[in-house]
């Protein structure tokens, strides 16, 4: 039997639900579980109470493991930190090594601030730019093939950078294969890195200012072409999203694809910056 407090609570909730037009809309369009309210328990205090006990137990177990048992479990602890010696290579915790690996290819401001913010904003935007009415509340591959594949590509990109950072970066952040001697310094990278505008000056013969402007045009062209090609070829896709959602989707998609593209340009053509502006360099 429900207590007086719970009864008042559910009565209040019902009044709230009925008074809201939004909830009426939701009632019309969502599946409802066939359960009477009496069968349900409140999250607070019933669930939160159990969760809090779990939290305390987990904390105790972790403290005991990390303080008491780690020496006997042979945890891979390093020697005491010393301000006199910096380890080489200096590696972040594994979950940050993807970001640290991005620093090889991008400026700290881009790799450490702009890209993570864009990733988080892009993930937050997904529910708002998804017009697919199928599978409310669940997101399966058979109903969202392109969406799931795009997401998985981004996820895999994140993980491959972590894999490289954890297992393939040795002394001086040079690339070491597992079978190489990790105690011997490698000579610093063979080719000198150059900016794209320097390459344009050299091979196209444009003046420095013009070649700098050309890099702006190339950057803008990447986004313009990337946004207009699906617009021209997949009109149905564009129409299902509408102009604003389509633009946001394509901006995030092209930015994501731009990251491996820049990595490719850097690895193959030794390009340091694609675009040099007085404020930032990409």
């Amino acid at each position: 039997m429900a207590t007086e407090h719970e009864e008042r609570g559910s009565h209040f909730l019902e009044k709230e639900l009925n008074s809201s037009r939004f909830m009426e809309k939701v009632k019309e369009t969502t599946l409802r579980v066939q359960k009477e309210p009496e069968d349900l328990a409140f999250v607070w205090p019933h669930l939160v109470y159990i969760e809090f006990i779990c939290l305390l137990l987990t904390a105790v177990i972790l403290v005991v493991l990390s303080m008491g048992l780690s020496p006997s479990l042979n945890a891979p602890l390093e020697e005491m930190a010393s301000p006199d010696t910096t380890p080489n290579p200096m590696k972040a915790p594994w979950y940050f090594l993807g970001l640290q690996e991005l620093l090889v290819f991008f400026d700290p401001w881009i790799a450490g601030v702009v890209l993570p913010v864009l990733i988080i904003m892009g993930l937050m935007a997904i529910p708002y730019i998804d017009p697919n009415p199928k599978g409310k509340g669940y997101y399966t591959f058979s109903e969202r093939r392109i969406a799931v594949l795009t997401f998985l590509f981004g996820l895999a990109l994140w993980y491959i950078l972590i894999v490289v950072g954890v297992w393939l970066r040795g002394l001086d952040w040079q690339w070491y294969w597992p079978w190489e001697d990790w105690t011997v310094h490698k000579p610093p990278g063979g080719a000198q890195l150059v900016d794209l505008e320097v390459l344009i000056q050299k091979y196209v013969g444009l003046a420095p200012i013009l070649s700098n402007l050309a890099t702006y045009a190339i950057m803008a062209g990447y986004y313009v072409v990337g946004i207009s090609v699906p617009f021209l070829l997949f009109r149905k896709f564009y129409k299902s999203l509408g102009f604003i959602r389509y633009s946001i989707t394509m901006f995030f998609f092209l930015t994501m694809m731009g990251v491996p593209l820049k990595i490719f340009l850097r690895l193959v053509f030794d390009i340091k910056y694609v675009l040099v502006t007085p404020w930032f360099k990409i």
Binding site: A156, V164, V268
Partner: protein, 35 residues
């Protein structure tokens, strides 16, 4: 030559990780469709 191997490793690794997660996605979908 090393550049080629590095490139192949990164492209192949990305596709491999995508494949693993894709298989998991499809298996999960099948699992929940049965119920």
């Amino acid at each position: 030559m090393e550049k080629l191997w590095i490139g192949l490793f990164m492209v192949g690794g990305t596709l491999l990780i995508m494949g693993i997660f894709l298989v998991l996605t499809i298996l999960l979908e099948k699992h929940f469709k049965k119920r």
